[in-house]
Amino acid sequence: MTDFVHDTLPCGIEYAVCPLPRRKVVCFQLRVLAGMVTEPADKLGLMNILSESIDKGTENYTGQQLADALDVIGASSGIGAGRETITFSCTVLPEHLERIVELQAELLRRPTFPENMLTVNLDLAKQELSTLEDDASGLSEKMMGPIAFGPLLGRHPLGEVATLDAITRQDLVEHWKKYFHAGNMLLSVAGDIDPQRVSDVFEKHFSEFGSPVKQGREAVPVKFTPQVLHRDKKLEQEQISICWPGVDARHEDFPAQQVMLGILSGGMSSRLFTEVREKQGLVYWVSAWQETPRGSGMIFLGASTTPERCDKTFHTLLHEVNRLADDITQEELDRTLTGILASQETRGDSTRSHSHEIASDLFFHGRPISPTEKADKFSRVTIDDIQRYLATHPRDKMCVVTLGPKALQQSTNTSHAEAQ
């Protein structure tokens, strides 16, 4: 049984702590509820630049001094800008909790965004954009984003050269002022730590950090635009991506969706691995996964294969999705459920996993959810549930992206009926 403390600090930070006796590290994640969706349309790439710049100088530290201070306590930390949030993750030995929170508060509350560092980070981002051409799967994702998610959620972290050129230091400062305040932050903590100690130290360092009023909890709508997109590129393999709408993490059908994905792509005995790779030798990599912004969910299939096998791979992928509704066996369902539940238990030995899990729960559900409650939801999924899910969430419109030397041979409309 996991006991959580879930509350809101007087400063406005909503937090959850999972005490884990005898753990040797403390892990926490601070999420500021502002991601790429908050970028002005003519400043795409802003959040990535902000995440790269926020720790490069504060009122009391240069970027290097701050990095050195983190190293003095052996902290492992990272900053990542996503669609809807920017995440600050830290792992330290428990005796250094107070100092790491002080340093995180320094960079979150007192960044100076030095002009010279901004110039460098903009230049590096443009170089990354250029070298994205060397990353086939990354390029494929970039092509899929806008048609699967729409103009807001489908943005690419790096933006475009023109929008990067438009970003100024003042933009960073204004964006930071607008979104970085305690009421717009979620905190998750796991480790051998007293929850009172956690609340005391975060309140001490984040009190009066902007408005305590909760903000940033609204979902951003997806704009799904089914179509077939191909880009010719000199590659050894063709990248194939398929996407269609699913349900979001709070939807009652979400457990059924996750189990369906497990049946498709959960382990090496799953359908895609078995039918596409093991039986036909069409690919080395094949996978199915979901991406769930708040309020929406998208299902993806992906594979890469040499051009002569592209059409066969594509149709096998569709065939496997289509037959799901007809022939799931109880044994297959049980095996998939065991995989999900066992993975939850083994991952539970990792303090960092706990911290990430709680952060995700706070973001999607507004509360931490115990492993028991999660397990219970999955355990109750039946074949009927999955069939009902498949019937009520049809795959009648899809986005299909291919990148490589060869477009799909047959005229592929975005209805998958032709593959049935």
């Binding site: 040797k24 590290v25 490069k56 970027g63 290097q64 990095a67 050195d68 190293d71 003095v72 306590i73 052996g74 902290a75 492992s76 792992t91 030995l93 560092m117 110039t119 460098v120 230049d123 590096l124 170089q127 990354e128 250029s130 070298t131 051409e133 060397d134 086939a136 000199k234 050894e236 393999q237 959960g266 382990g267 090496m268 005995s269 799953s270 078995t274 093991e278 039986k279 036909q280 030798g281 069409l282 690919v283 080395y284 990599w285 890469s304 294969t305 040499t306 095996r335 998939t336 065991t338 995989g339 999900i340 066992a342 993975s343 238990e345 083994t346 539970g348 030995d349 990792s350 303090t351």
Partner: protein, 416 residues
């Protein structure tokens, strides 16, 4: 406190290491086979990796489908991988499922390498090779090894070449398998919340009847080549610049020092980061200590816009020279120790991570180390010991430079 692990060797030579982790709920088990790409003959380059794929394809007891299904019935996090000098198969499960996990892994080690699956899996491996050719970093690293270790088995890629994989027969693979996958060439590691006596009993039951092959190592230490090579490839936008310099082999304090030097030079918050990346010269510049039992190399590695090759190369060389000539600062060494302390504490709580650490120790040191022992060795790294290391493995050595990307740079290099 007594050591938390049990060491045992079965009569057939199978070595066993078990570490008890009473505070966790899971357990990991894995076989390390002391064989990899460097144990192959040139016409069969890639056989170790292809064999690793085939090990999932069937035994006298299980059809390939049963192998993966049985793994998944346990909810195991399982996989396998091949390197230059080892092949590893592992599974991470709930503690109650450990015996079943060991049984499946042990059964896999008795593969029949089914003929009917051989061609199909060859296609999968060829697809993996094709995928690697679309990844510039993979291309660059294979090219670097090919040139640095020219004439030595470490020169060929782990995946093999299209031609060698296409030409390989099942009989050739079978002969390699029989010779290399024998208990006297294997190690079985278990870490987690386990009862060691029950685990040993289980292992004896599953592996005790295996016959040793009497295989002996034929590995010859490589001579690293100095030189400069360019692989011009118009299809890529960026240029990879990589310099290799001889370094300490795996295992022991010298390897820890080499790893610390790599961190100070090109890890997070390193000299490369502040003096190269944060000047806008390169989005990625890093240093790694790359190690084998009998040799090691310091890899200085960066990517850049093609027009910046010279600057990136010169900047990496300059940082290496500064450390070589001027040494490192006490605060830099202290930072490495502090970071390592946290990462070891984090890894020590997960059975799968302890499994891989124990495998490293057994392969390169011949004995396991506790986390405390690892920490005490990290604490032995000092400014003076780094300076002493530099006299043995100078970072000012010419080493080998490779350049991969659209630009023919340096123009005086050997082109491929």
């Amino acid at each position: 406190m007594s050591d938390p692990y049990i060491l045992e060797t079965l009569d057939n030579g199978l070595r066993i290491v078990i570490e008890q982790m009473p505070d966790v709920r899971s357990a990991a088990a894995g076989f390390l086979i002391d064989t990899g790409a460097r144990d192959e003959v040139a016409p069969q380059a890639g056989v170790s990796h292809f064999l690793e794929h085939m090990m999932f394809k069937g035994t006298s007891k299980r059809h390939w489908r049963d192998i993966t299904t049985d793994f998944d019935k346990l909810g195991s996090s399982y996989n396998a991988y091949t390197s230059e000098d080892r092949t590893i198969y592992y599974g991470w499960v709930r503690k109650a499922d450990l015996d079943a996990q060991i049984e499946i892994l042990a059964d896999m080690m008795t593969s029949t390498l089914p003929e009917e699956e051989f061609q199909m899996e060859r296609n999968v491996v060829l697809e993996e090779i094709a995928m690697s050719k679309d990844q510039i970093e993979h291309v660059a690293f294979d090219f670097l090894q090919e040139k640095v270790f020219e004439g030595h088995p470490l020169a060929w890629p782990i995946l093999g070449y299209d031609e060698t994989v296409e030409a390989l027969t099942r009989d050739q693979m079978w002969a390699y398998f029989q010779q290399r996958y024998a208990p006297d060439n294997m190690l079985l590691v278990v870490a987690g919340n386990v009862d060691p006596n029950a685990v040993i009993k289980s292992i004896k039951g599953h592996c005790g009847q295996w016959r040793p092959s009497g295989t002996t190592s034929t590995r010859v230490p490589p001579q690293m080549k100095n030189g400069t090579n360019v692989l011009q490839m118009d299809r890529f936008k960026q240029q990879i610049v990589a310099i290799t310099i001889p370094a300490a082999p795996a295992g022991g304090v010298q390897a820890e020092i080499a790893s610390a030097v790599a961190t100070i030079l090109g890890g997070e918050n390193s000299r490369f980061f502040w003096n190269i990346v944060q000047t806008g010269l390169s989005p990625r510049a890093a240093a790694f200590h790359y190690e084998f039992a009998d040799t090691g190399m310091m890899l200085l590695y960066g990517s850049c816009q093609p027009e910046n090759c010279e600057k990136l190369h010169d900047a990496m060389r300059e940082e290496a020279r500064r450390i070589n000539d001027d040494g490192v600062e006490e605060h830099e060494v202290q930072r490495v120790r502090n970071r390592r302390r946290t990462s070891l504490a984090l890894e020590a709580e997960v059975p799968y991570h302890r499994l891989t650490q124990l495998m490293d120790d057994m392969q390169y040191l011949g004995q396991p180390r506790t986390v405390d022992k690892m920490l005490s060795e990290v604490d032995q790294i000092t400014v003076d010991s780094v300076q002493d290391y530099m006299t043995k493995f100078p970072l000012s050595a010419a080493g080998h430079l490779v350049s991969v990307g659209p630009r023919d740079w340096p123009s005086n290099a050997s082109n491929d």
